[in-house]
Subunit: 221 residues, 2 copies
């Protein structure tokens, strides 16, 4: 039995939830609060981060390690592509979203507005929020461009690249921080992601005291 320890409004946890469903794997979902630094969770992942995947006796930490693990352990459906070139392109774009987009957009918006709140670490820095709101435009334009050139972000098939991008954007969209009107191609691509059955459950999460904008879980937005 697979079990995923996750944080509902966390891009990395969302990425793995969607990946598990795209691979048609059955899994239990356990919500955690890694910032509480509880002993049992630190024993699972000394880095004190979600997501953590437990597969029988095996514990797999770090979202990129988890997606590589799923690819090796459950190869029936690939989320990276079959050729070595497709796989390199998928991984480049996963890194784009999990590192570059994270540093320039998700960290200044999501970490400032949400993670700080979880950790009771004060208010968001308005300077960071301004930087994130500015930087997201360039990234939406990049998605727009990829979407014009290709069927999906990394090529002809939906891959981890789409899942990583959509996971980050879904969290920011919850906060009302995605200027979709400026990037019609990116919006079209995201509408396609939203309408996948794998994506529906993550759009159902709500956090107390913070409601998403009306369009948030509507595939036709």
């Amino acid at each position: 039995m697979l079990r995923l320890y996750h944080v509902p409004l966390c891009p990395y946890s969302r990425k793995i939830r969607v990946a598990l469903r795209e691979k048609q794997l059955v899994f239990e979902l356990v919500e955690v609060q890694p910032w509480a630094m509880e002993d049992w969770f630190l024993a699972l992942n000394p880095a004190a981060e979600a997501p953590v995947l437990v597969d029988g006796e095996r514990v797999v930490c770090d979202s990129r390690a988890i997606e590589e693990y799923l690819e090796e352990a459950y190869p029936q459906t690939t989320l990276f592509g079959r050729s070595i070139g497709e796989r390199a392109e998928t991984r480049r774009l996963v890194a784009w979203f999990d590192s570059k987009f994270a540093r320039e957009v998700s960290d200044p918006l999501w970490r400032e507005k949400i993670v700080k709140r979880w950790k009771r670490a004060g208010f968001p820095s308005s300077d960071a929020v301004r930087r994130g709101a500015e930087a997201i435009r360039l990234h939406l334009a990049y998605i727009d461009w990829l979407w014009q050139e290709r069927k999906w972000l990394a090529g002809d098939a939906m891959t981890m690249a789409d899942i990583a991008a959509a996971a980050h954007l879904s969290v920011l969209d919850y906060l009302g921080d995605v200027p979709w009107k400026e990037a019609p191609g990116a919006r079209e691509w995201y509408a396609k992601m939203k309408s996948r059955p794998s994506f529906r459950p993550i759009l159902m999460d709500r956090i107390v005291g913070l409601n998403p904008p009306e369009h948030y879980d509507d595939p036709d937005f």
Copy 2:
């Protein structure tokens, strides 16, 4: 022919240089300055980051994507381990150093002291430097602990986990920022890494106007 575009004092570039040598691959090395945002380099990697590997017609960006690519394209020598469990543990620790250690230690020390200098982006924040100098102690203690329990960081064999950790530490050691005396196990492990032929070339790099401490390239330090 393989060609690696790299920055000499960059942990991610160093990681791939060592990995290429450990895999006994022959490659050309081209020094770049990604922060100059030159068109030819942005065409290779729109993320404007080193390292970039070019293998014939193929361009591979992002250090974690490159190491996975090398593992798939040149599987004769593995740097991840043969079993699925070893591979997951190796990737967990690569993520530990490339994400957690990077955020807590390399960013506040290397990015503040070196990357800012390259980008002419002002002086290091003394607050960040203080945070980094404090955080490195916990990470050295973790290496110490892994080294007591195992032959190498991820298990019985030298893997990408050791290479990632040593690449980050080598850059910080150049800056004189590693309190080796406090972590004799970590020092022993790093001495073993330093004495590998794959590691020698990176210890020969010097940057103008900044000399490393005397022990820097000495395997018996």
